[in-house]
């Protein structure tokens, strides 16, 4: 039995709590620093990048030199500039896909979990089937069908993420729908919208936040992978995954054009996961 019946430290508003939790963890701060670095790179790319990313500006497959700090790629484009510009692509697509998925997934989960019945059963079976379906195949099929483009990448990732999110939200809602505060809302005649939006949604916030952070990492990961498989943004636009792909066959000649975007991508995903981890650790009492 908790001894703090009368004196428990209270729950505090969400945002300051997040920041405080992050602050407590060194790893979390490191992650935040790395993400911040890349965000700045993305924002400042037009001014900081030494060359336009798609122009042939030098001899191909060169290593680092004073002119080209990170070397050139197989067509003679500056790796550093392509790296910086490529940041914009990744940092735009991943959050967009995750945001869309979270909104739609949460809506589905809320409705399905609360309304129950046949509607819920059907949705859940469809959900399970989608989750069981191998993600990469889903990406493959969608992009093969619709063609590689930025929009389709977002679409593919969002579609693959929605079932998982819906399942999490539904799980939370199902555990809450027989609780006293929900029954009380029903007994005083609250409308469906009120119950879903005001009573249930705030309770879904916390697990959803953790999931969003993790999914951001996974989406970034996937964007890289799709780029690598040639299913991402079409050339010549700089895409980190695509850059690795085109560089693989030149590994023995110059590793820089491949290793640089590879490590950059890894660092970003690691950073996001460090943040997610720090947040989750801090969330536990």
């Amino acid at each position: 039995m908790r001894t703090l019946q009368h004196f428990s430290g209270g729950a505090v508003p969400l945002l300051p709590a997040i920041l405080r939790r992050l602050g407590r963890s060194k790893a979390g701060l490191l992650g935040a620093a790395i993400v911040l670095f890349w965000v700045l790179a993305a924002l400042l790319a037009p001014w900081v990048a030494p060359y336009p990313p798609n122009n042939l500006v030098g001899p191909a497959t060169q290593g680092p030199s004073t002119l080209f700090w990170l070397g050139t790629d197989d067509l003679g484009r500056d790796v550093l500039s392509r790296l910086l510009w490529g940041t914009r692509s990744v940092l735009l697509l991943a959050p967009t896909a995750v945001l869309i998925a979270e909104i739609i997934g949460a809506a589905i989960g809320l409705a399905s979990g609360y309304l129950g019945g046949l509607f819920d059963q059907v949705i859940m079976r469809l959900n399970d089937a989608l989750i069981a379906f191998p993600t990469i195949l889903l990406y493959l099929l969608i992009i093969a069908a619709l063609g590689p483009s930025r929009v389709n990448v977002v679409l593919a990732i969002a579609t693959a993420s929605i079932p998982g999110i819906a399942r999490i939200v539904r799980g939370v809602v199902v555990s809450l729908r027989k609780r006293g505060f929900v029954l009380s809302a029903q007994m005083r005649g609250e409308s469906l919208w009120y119950i879903l939006a005001i009573e249930l949604l705030p309770n879904v916030r916390r697990p959803l936040l953790v999931d969003t952070l993790l999914r951001l990492g996974y989406a970034t990961f996937s964007i890289g992978t799709l780029g690598f498989l040639g299913l991402g943004a079409p050339p010549p636009d700089p895409d980190w995954g695509g850059m690795v792909n085109s560089g693989v066959r030149w590994l023995s000649v110059s590793a820089w054009m491949t290793a640089v975007p590879a490590i950059a991508l890894a660092s970003l995903v690691v950073a996001i996961n460090l943040i997610a981890d720090a947040f989750e650790e801090g969330a536990r009492p």
């Binding site: 001894t3 430290g9 006293g180 029954l183 009380s184 029903q186 005649g189």
Partner: protein, 695 residues
């Protein structure tokens, strides 16, 4: 002089937490004598559980410990890891709270029992099995061989409790520590467990430390009692002394607010203890109880009093203990019970209500189980009706069905003489203003993410028709009516105590001035003094508004305090109903009688002879034929009980009993039996009435 098995000196335990240093125990000194049953009683936050775990040396890595706890000359708190492992189970054993949690869900019971025996005495094979079976029989678990093949989740709460006790005894410990062994158990099961403890003490000579907040259980089972408050012992003495002549204001206040079934409603009123517990993160200045004490004087604020001796076996930590001696425990008188007369307006009526659910039988059979079987009852305006029963009685299903939260499969529900649909969603708007409910679980009755007062605001707006600033005003008014500062409305529920949350739920229920409020076990999870507070406010709101209450509970003491009328349920049927005083004085249905006898009263002198209810529950299919109580009734007549449903017989004005036995032959209510304390309980609980000293 009997030796001290355990000798604790100046034990203080602090926990290092995120929010600071939590003072769980602030300097406790006590002895546990070999062969005794010591009761450690107190409410949440008093430190009794910490004390229990200290006896096993299991205080956790963030505990800062001072003082000693000697077990036969060796200090438990200074033991090495190896010594602790050797001691636990073999010299001191613990039965933790929630027996089901103590069992590994993925291993069969037999395996777990064998493991205990093997670890402690290296016994294996047939010898081990024999020893286990004999111990299982000792704790009255029927069919030990079969049970050993089962999984933990297949056992009932009572059986799990016995099992865990058996496991603790397999190591043949000198000291058995039990942490809240009766919490969550039905009254009759609780009585059986307490009997078992007495037997074990007598037969095996084991010393017992019983930690509980249940004053009745302590009174029944213990020789000596220590009362704890805010991490300190405030009173220590024999059970008889403590309960009859408490010398510390806290003990006295506690005894005054415990609901008792042997006092009519007109003779007792819930009297909450004012004020709050001291902050466990702060050091104490002065007496820990001073801020709530009716006897506090200036000197009390100077320092925490030591335990001052009163007699050879009685000590209290109060400088005014002599003055308290002069005033016996005297609960405040309450209102007399109202007998509802026929010209009062009917507020609610149900006829032949059925609630069924499908159940999986134990061998793949099973079928339809009726949670409620053709139940009819009515409620008049302003009346308080209590529905009493144990788990499986259907009382909560009844509450849910009337509220519209659970489907009824047959029967009719009338509110204000109008037929309403069983489903809340299909009921007209006026029913929401008419009928409200307060729920059992105080941790989930308020939305954890919203301000505590938000739902009151909504209720005021939707049901009370207020707008704008009037809403705020009305909410504040309601909160004051339940004794809460209106600014509490802006805090999150997690910052509030259980009692505060429940009071908000009550305020919310009364926001629209309903005609009927259903209370479903609203105080079951609360401490005694908090319960008194909640009940007090509930009563005041009910009386002020003339609202009818349907009060669901298993606690007969609370029933005695607040009910006008009582309905006793067993396995989905009503077995007795009548005005409160009539039901408590008798004659009674055999089940009601068993219930009344099982209730442990916080008065050791007042222990009843009770018959443990033996026998299995009837199969779902068989339940509907004859009397549902047929398999366990100690007064079973014969085959008529098996074949024919018993008739409803009148036993007085508005008092009805559903039994084949004619009313004249049913015993009058129990009579307080002097001197049959647990230490003199008969060997296997089956009694013969001869030898009972009547009133």
């Amino acid at each position: 002089m009997t030796s001290a098995l355990v000798d604790i000196r100046a034990l203080s335990v602090d926990y290092a937490t995120h929010d600071g240093l939590l003072h769980a125990l602030r300097g406790v000194t006590l002895e546990i004598v070999t062969g005794e049953v010591l009761g450690i009683v107190g409410e949440s936050g008093c430190g009794k559980t910490t004390l229990g775990y200290a006896l096993l040396g299991d205080l956790g890595p963030n505990a800062r410990v001072k003082g000693v706890a000697r077990l036969n000359e060796r200090d438990i708190l200074a033991m090495t890891r190896a010594e602790l492992i050797a001691m636990r189970g073999r010299r001191v054993a613990m039965v933790p709270q929630s027996p089901g949690d103590a069992l590994n869900p993925a291993r069969k019971i037999g395996d777990q029992l064998r493991e205990v025996l093997f670890v402690h005495s290296r016994l294996k094979g047939a010898q081990a099995t024999a020893r286990i079976c004999s111990l299982l029989e000792k704790v009255h678990i029927p069919n030990p061989q079969a049970i050993m093949q089962r999984w933990p989740h297949e056992l009932s709460g009572g059986q799990q409790q016995r099992l865990v006790i058996a496991m603790a005894l397999l190591g043949e410990p000198e000291l058995l520590v039990l942490d809240e062994p009766t919490t969550g158990l039905d009254v009759t099961v609780e009585a059986a467990v307490l009997d078992l403890l007495a037997e074990l003490r007598r037969d095996l000579g084991v010393t017992i430390a019983l930690i509980s907040h249940n004053l009745g259980a302590i009174a029944r089972a213990c020789d000596r009692v220590i009362v704890m408050y805010a991490g300190l012992i405030v009173e220590a003495g024999t059970a008889a002394e403590i309960f009859a002549r408490p010398r510390h204001p806290y003990t006295k206040a506690l005894l005054e607010c415990v609901p008792r079934i042997d006092r009519a409603r007109s003779a007792q009123q819930p009297v909450p203890i004012p004020g709050n517990l001291p902050n466990p993160f702060a050091a104490l200045s002065g007496c820990s109880f001073a801020n709530r004490c009716a006897y506090a004087v200036f000197d009390c604020l100077a320092e925490q009093p030591a335990l001052l001796p009163i007699s050879e076996h009685h000590a209290a930590a109060c400088i005014r203990w002599a003055d308290i001696a002069a005033e016996p425990v005297a609960p405040k008188p309450g209102e007399a019970v109202q007998i509802s007369s026929t010209d009062r307006r009917e507020v609610m009526r149900i006829e032949e209500l059925d609630v069924t659910y499908h159940v999986r039988g134990t061998k793949g059979g099973g079928g339809i189980l009726k949670a409620i079987d053709a139940v009819s009852l009515d409620l008049a305006q302003g009346q308080v009706t209590a529905i009493v029963g144990e788990s499986g009685s259907g009382k909560s299903s009844l509450a849910s069905a009337i509220a519209g939260l659970r489907p009824a499969d047959a029967g009719a529900i009338y509110l204000d003489r109008k037929l309403v649909h069983w489903s809340l969603r299909r009921r007209a708007g006026w029913t929401r203003k008419f009928l409200q409910m307060v729920f059992q679980d105080h941790t989930s009755t308020l939305n954890p993410e919203l301000g505590a007062g938000r739902s009151i605001d909504r209720a005021v707006r939707l049901l009370g028709g207020a707008r704008g600033s009037a809403v705020r005003a009305r909410t504040a008014e309601l909160m004051q009516k339940v004794g809460l500062d209106p600014t509490t409305a802006f805090r999150k529920p997690s910052e509030l105590s259980g009692g505060q949350r429940q009071r908000i739920a009550i305020a919310r229920a009364f926001a629209g001035r309903p005609e009927l409020v259903i209370c479903d076990e609203i105080t079951s999870a609360l401490d005694v003094s908090i319960q008194a507070q909640v009940i007090a406010f509930l009563q005041s709101l009910q009386r002020a508004n003339g609202t009818s209450l349907l009060f669901i509970t298993h606690d007969l003491g609370v029933v005695r305090q607040i009910a006008d009328e009582i309905i006793v349920m067993y396995l989905g049927t009503v077995c007795e109903r009548g005005p409160a005083d009539a039901v408590f004085s008798g004659p009674n249905h055999p089940y009601t009688q068993a219930l009344l006898e099982s209730v442990a009263s916080p008065d050791p002198a007042l222990q009843r002879k009770h018959r443990p209810l033996a026998g299995p529950l009837p199969d779902p299919a068989e339940r509907r034929i004859g009397c549902p109580f047929k398999t366990r009734c100690p007064k079973r007549l014969g085959t008529v009980c098996d074949t024919t449903g018993p008739p409803l017989r009148s036993a007085g004005d508005r008092h009805a009993i559903r039994c084949h036995i004619p009313v004249e032959e049913l015993d009058r209510h129990w009579t307080p039996v002097a001197g049959t304390h647990i230490s003199a309980a008969p060997k296997n609980g089956v009694d013969n009435i001869s030898g009972v000293i009547g009133q």
